[in-house]
Assembly symmetry: C2
């Protein structure tokens, strides 16, 4: 027996996924006991202001601090200062905030506690070039790396060795204070060394690795960057570094936790949840075709799971923009899904960005029903033409099927659910 309409169940699953990542919900349980000494709250990321507020609301003692977040992501706080800065290209505001954060954790004692609040986007918000380097140097090398085909691990290795704050340096500066890092993950694998380039996490990579990466991709400029790396002064803290002995990290929200929260809603509503993956990648429309194929298998062969069921997946797909429509990863996925399902009875879907913003639109995502194509056709809206134009938002707005949450001020990446009736 299932309860609730498919639309309701889908929306409740999405809301549960987002709620699992809201700092007000997920952060309090991870707060450590107050220290004998001072509590300094620092942090960076798109969720850092909301995280700071959650700390203020639940912290039993004194605290002070400073976090940096993206322009527009400020929330009201009493005691923790919020600085807004640019993302994804760093600006001076972020650089100044990073400098102040690094100063703030210096000179602490063993009795003090640093609470570090990290979330996606923290890498560009927390930018502090190593001595001798400029913001322009870092921007130039970032552009060169992006154009080279280097992967994210390689880029992070280089970045950590050009920074005064990343790759564990922030934690090293805070020693001998205890450092507790609370992290919201939006990256595949939830590696804390990757999120915001791990300012409080020991770094396994070296200056020599960074030089090898630039050689591999034949990057020879800016000269200041190469000189800095080749000089290899002041290596990042490595695992076992005594300065990081009193660091601990808690993942307080992840894509997987969001999917598990949605799965619990599904189960309660009588649908068997099947989590396919929390970090699926690929071109949105092709990922949609695979999901459609799995949904057809459920309808036709009760595989890989018997209906009533919900197929759940997370992770960030890609849209290769060819058209001129208003799109986003999630509405592109849904539009392609509705074309691939071609009105298959009993199959509904919701996809949305957990940050509440799918692409550039103030819309989180949308809902697909078995009659999506028929309702579109009745309104003279051609799904295939809209898909060719990457016009997912236009398509679902025309149907009144958008999902709007407003900016959620958190982010555990995309959420996709396909509900299949028995």
């Amino acid at each position: 027996m299932t309860t609730g309409t498919p639309r309701d169940v889908l929306r409740r699953m999405f809301d549960a996924a987002v709620a699992s990542a809201l700092p007000s919900k997920c952060l309090p349980a991870h707060l450590p006991p107050p220290p004998k000494g001072r509590t300094i709250v620092i942090g960076a990321g798109k969720a850092s202001a909301a995280m700071a507020r959650a700390v203020e609301e639940h912290w039993p003692g004194e605290l002070e601090g400073l976090v940096v977040t993206r322009y527009g992501h400020r929330v009201a706080t009493d005691r923790i200062e919020i600085v807004e800065a640019a993302h994804p290209v760093p600006d001076l505001a972020g650089r100044e905030a990073a400098e102040r954060i690094l100063k703030r954790v210096q000179g602490l004692s063993e009795d003090d506690l640093v609470l570090c609040l990290i979330s996606g986007g923290g890498s560009s918000l927390l930018t502090l070039p190593a001595p001798g380097l400029t913001l322009q140097d870092k921007q130039a090398i970032n552009r060169a790396l992006l154009a080279s085909g280097a992967n994210i691990t390689e880029m992070n290795c280089v970045r950590k060795h050009l920074s005064a704050i990343k790759g564990g340096r922030l934690a090293a500066a805070a020693a001998p204070a205890k450092v507790v890092t609370l992290t919201i993950s939006d990256v595949p694998g939830d590696d804390p060394a990757v999120i915001a380039s791990g300012p409080t996490i020991a770094d396994r990579t070296t200056f020599a690795d960074a030089v090898a990466i630039l050689h591999k991709y034949r990057i020879t400029e800016p000269a200041a960057v190469l000189q800095h790396l080749e000089r290899a002064a002041d290596e990042t803290p490595k695992p076992g570094d005594p300065r990081l002995a009193r660091c601990e990290t808690h993942m307080i929200a992840t894509p997987q936790m969001a999917l598990e929260a949605a799965a619990a809603v599904a189960r309660e509503a009588g649908y068997t949840p099947l989590i396919l993956g929390n970090a699926l990648e690929g071109e949105s429309r092709d990922v949609a075709m695979v999901h459609s194929g799995i949904a057809r298998q459920v309808r036709g062969f009760h595989q890989p799971v018997k209906a009533p069921c919900v197929l759940l997946s997370g992770g960030e797909t890609t849209v290769t923009v060819r058209g001129k429509g208003r799109g986003g990863r999630n509405v592109e996925f849904l539009l392609a899904l509705s074309v691939a399902l071609d009105g298959l009875p009993g199959v509904y879907a919701l996809a949305g960005d957990t940050d509440g913003i799918d692409g550039a639109e103030e819309t989180a995502g949308a809902i697909v029903t078995p009659d999506t194509l028929a309702r579109a056709a009745a309104r003279g809206v051609d799904a295939k033409a809209r898909l060719a134009d990457n016009d997912g938002h236009g398509f679902f707005e025309a149907l009144g099927d958008t999902v709007v949450t407003g900016p959620t001020l958190t982010n555990v990446n995309d959420f996709r659910a396909i509900l299949i009736e028995a």
Copy 2:
């Protein structure tokens, strides 16, 4: 407890999938009892010669007949004539064979049996333009439909109404004889009306539908085609047509049956099989990224199934060729998969075309192991560069990891298996 090496288990699964579709294995059990009168064997498709031989070897009585297959797909037969013709663009040999097949089933009695052997490719091999139309007319309209963006259902509707043999017309011509159609499916959904355009299957579409489709896509040429469709003489047999009352159809091999055969091998070797879908579609490299994401979820979270397990899927992916390498859908999938898995321990994969030919190469597919990338790098072979060049065959040949079966003379589409150790 699992038995056999991952490579062995993968290869045995693939072989079981192919074997399930070999006419010698799957056809005999579906043969009807011999009739009082004559037995006429006809058929079309890439597997029709192999199917004819299986009939000859197991048929207890007299028989005669004629089947048309693709150039190079002949096998030795004693009593059933094999004609080879062109695929996918029809030629005169196919046209003449179709004419002879249609004549062969005319004038039969209620005591006679027509055994119709259908497999993929039958549509272009069994080409007989309706009276007043030429092969050139049909070729022209095919080109126009392909360029228009019409889907396969729409194209088949038009084709059936330009043919003297498709859309149930062959069965109607055979009345009052009994018609038993044995079909090997290589299409999503296994709809017998779609495979070879259903020469023995009642047609739900009409001349008016065909005209509407040409209008929809603004196709106005050739004039002879439009006139033929608008005249609407001699409609295809519809469901309930008394001429088709003595027709029955058996699916003797399908992609699903092939996956189930592989699943049985997996189970016996101690791996839990999970069939994701028998008709997955999408760009090969993106389908690979989704499979990689699911494999990571198994390793990290025991979802959607607990290892040791095998993820199975079928259906035809797409390769958008941008490079100059030697590729095919299956090796492209595997090459992209190995890049996406990036050496993830405990994950092995095999993908192959069940017809034994992946793309233009005499190679069915290949095998991926956790050390595929490392072995490639040791040989100076760059996986990402080969993927960018669509050079899947070159890549796996360099590693000695190709899977070669030779042409299997059957086809239930692509086969993919990802084996994940506990």
